[in-house]
Symmetry: C2
Subunit: 124 residues, 2 copies
DNA sequence: TTACATGCTATTCAATTCATAGCATTTTAT
DNA sequence: ATAAAATGCTATGAATTGAATAGCATGTAA
């Protein structure tokens, strides 16, 4: 019997089951678990800004990521339905783009944060 | 000579210096580095919803976090100016509340994500 | 002065990530 | 057809990070 491609993998943090950092499986905690892994947000961000990307292109664009970790993150992001494969390499799914859209304001705000830290460090 | 309290620590990812996952030090990458550590977002989230919290209260509310990690995350969040100490324990700063506010939509959206995954898993 | 709460640190062990090499398969060039 | 290059990884070992648990130093209250 063949595996069906769209079943949820038990191997990535997903809502409804206990995840690292929460026994409740609350969606936000599952999301925090998934995104709170090194490079998870960075990969999604980088991919969305360079779609499609092959594995090696992503690797280069992420500068320092190791192929083992990239492969693992891609697997998790695919299991979570944020990333899939398409023509010319990896691409984001509709869900992945929604998530990215949630991160964009964070990207803008991070500049304010940088400014605030900077001003603070200049204090006499 | 005494250390001044508000100087940036070199020991946490901050904009303008290379961080894990990016040599550029782009603010968003520094933020991703900081938040992409186990429990970082969870601690901020939990604290914001239970202000103020003592160390032990936070520990309980986070359910599974170990004191060493909580202490480390608190140190980073404080260095990043997201958390500070106040009457009755740890509290968020104005910056920390801004960041939390950026995460709130993510929390709402995570429910849609959960629903989408769920529907997908019910497919024939 | 004993008891308890608080904010950690110490220690040991497990899991994760880094850095690098390299392999199997497909595509491209000659 | 063959060789070279690109692609998508896997393997390995070292370094870093996190989990689990114990316990200590300080402060407060009884």
């Amino acid at each position: 019997m063949k595996k069906i491609a769209y079943v949820k993998s038990a191997d990535f943090p997903h809502p409804g089951t206990p995840v690292r950092g929460s026994r409740s499986g609350a969606p936000i905690m599952a999301l925090f678990d998934l995104l709170g892994r090194r490079w998870a947000m960075g990969v999604l961000w980088t991919l969305r800004e360079n779609e499609p990307s092959t594995f090696r292109q992503l690797q280069e664009r992420c500068e320092t990521i190791s192929p083992a970790v990239l492969n693992k993150r891609l697997g998790e992001l695919r299991a979570a339905q944020f990333v899939t494969r398409g023509e010319g390499g990896y691409i984001t799914t509709a869900l992945g783009r929604e998530l990215y859209d949630q991160l964009v304001p964070l990207g803008l705000w991070s500049k304010d944060w940088a400014k605030a830290l900077d001003e603070m460090s200049e204090m006499p």
